[in-house]
């Protein structure tokens, strides 16, 4: 008995260490992507604030690049405005029916966009994520899609009042179905784990062909609207399964320079979800 007590006292630091390691592993395995605690991630308010400060300092170094990007974006929009103006003019000048183009039948869209800024990114391993500066109070909810100016970017994982954490395409947990534009066969987009510029489009039928540079867009998705750009096909890669084709795609979103994004709010998400749950039961 005395020996046992002696043993316990002598090795008590091992016991403490074992308990702490056990607790850590509990955290590792219990953080299922959907019930992840807000307190132990960067959606936490304190951590979020730290990151916003660090981001403010950082953003100065990106000003020049962002300026060029904004200018380009502006130019593109300007062109679009011109085209639209011309269209309106054409209709307005040669037809008395112009009224039908100017009536107030503004249909409400299924999707609503919430602009947000990326305040932190972590792209150094398999566990990539981004933190945004919009949260619950601005209407962001888990499972909403996130897009950048050039393509889809990720999906909201957890939200706090003012911040939210995004799982980007370049995370092994991210899945979305995609297809070649103008094709009817969809496959799934999976990230390979190394290069954040590339992902793979897998599980396409054997007969599916491609041209380099073909656009890959979203197909059936509860999170993204149809036909949003994901990336562009680069080359064919060996598929794990011989029954399918797999392509490497260059992602449209440049995760190295991502700063401004938009969160997609789907007005019918809850309705659809409820309906499908009933069917599943």
């Amino acid at each position: 008995m005395r020996n046992l007590i002696k043993f316990i006292i002598r090795s008590s630091h091992w016991i403490v260490a074992t308990l702490l390691v056990a607790f850590s592993f509990y955290l590792v395995f219990s953080h299922n992507s959907y019930q992840r605690s807000v307190y132990l991630t960067s959606a936490n308010h304190v951590i979020g604030t730290f990151y916003s400060i660090s981001d403010k300092v950082n953003s100065f170094f990106h000003l020049r690049k962002n300026n060029t990007l904004l200018l380009e974006h502006n130019a593109r929009l300007e062109t679009e405005v011109q085209v639209l103006k011309e269209t309106i003019n054409r209709f307005a000048s040669d037809s008395i029916n112009a009224a039908i183009f100017t009536n107030d039948s503004v249909t409400s869209s299924q999707f609503n966009f919430i602009p947000a800024e990326v305040v932190n990114v972590s792209f150094s391993g398999p566990n990539n994520f981004m933190t945004l500066n919009k949260g619950k109070l601005q209407g962001v909810k888990p499972d909403m899609g996130v897009i950048s100016q050039s393509g889809i970017a990720g999906v909201i994982l957890s939200v706090s009042d003012h911040f939210s954490v995004v799982i980007p395409i370049v995370n092994p947990k991210f899945r979305v179905s995609g297809k070649r534009k103008n094709s009817i066969n969809s496959g799934s987009i999976v990230w390979g784990g190394i290069d954040i510029n590339y992902a793979e489009l897998r599980e396409l039928p054997k007969h599916e062909t491609f041209l380099k540079g073909d656009t890959v867009v979203t197909s059936f998705s509860r999170i993204f609207p149809k036909d949003m750009i994901i990336g562009f096909i680069n080359k064919q890669v060996p598929s794990a399964d011989d029954k399918f084709n797999a392509f490497e795609i260059k992602l449209a979103t440049d995760f190295h320079s991502i700063r401004e994004v938009m969160v997609i709010e789907d007005m019918y998400y809850d309705e659809l979800n409820a309906l499908e749950t009933i069917v599943e039961e």
Binding site: H13, V16, A17, L27, T41, S122, F123, G193, D195
Partner: protein, 172 residues
């Protein structure tokens, strides 16, 4: 004793800030990321209280985890390293090395390098194994471990050779 704790706290916070805001964003060739915060455990005096080492190691890992959104991973790896620090020191240092001695590049560089290599390697192996439990192939994980360890060790030796000197001078 008091100044020792304050020094520890400053180093603790400094390493976390450095890791989270700077080093975590470095990713050479897509594989090597320096993980410097383990320097805190290397720099503790040889005879530090075991509980103090283990609990501060756990807290260090946990705070890094919270910042990097990886609950538990760094905490688990760092706690194990902290627990094995004493047995490893017993292997490397002679029995007559006195308890207040802080491992340093400038006093006993051979032992310091051996201690750093063992702790960093152990830490990296644990970290990357936990991180890639189910997801990735073994070659990539090994490459990550080796390249990140080398990068981390280079930074540790450089930092210690540069800043370690000051504390030795001030002790005289």
């Amino acid at each position: 004793m008091k100044t020792g704790i304050i020094k520890d706290i400053i180093l603790f916070l400094l390493l976390i800030a450095l890791q989270v805001f700077l080093l975590d964003r470095i990713n050479i060739f897509g594989v090597a990321t320096p993980i410097l915060y383990i320097y805190f455990l290397i720099k503790m005096p040889l005879g530090s209280n075991r509980f103090y080492v283990i609990i501060s190691g756990f807290l260090l890992g946990l705070i890094i985890d919270i910042f990097m959104n990886t609950p538990g991973m760094n905490a688990a790896a760092t706690t194990v390293v902290a627990a094995f620090r004493e047995p490893i020191i017993k292997l490397i240092y002679t029995r007559d090395a006195y308890d207040e001695l802080t491992p340093s590049m400038n006093t006993d560089s051979k032992s310091f390098i051996r201690l750093s290599i063992s702790l960093v390697l152990l830490h990296q192996i644990l970290l990357f194994l936990i991180e890639s439990f189910t997801l990735f192939n073994i070659e990539l994980t090994l490459l990550r471990i080796v390249s990140s360890s080398i990068l981390t060790l280079l930074i540790i030796f450089a930092v210690d050779a540069l800043f370690g000197k000051k504390s030795v001078v001030s002790e005289f």
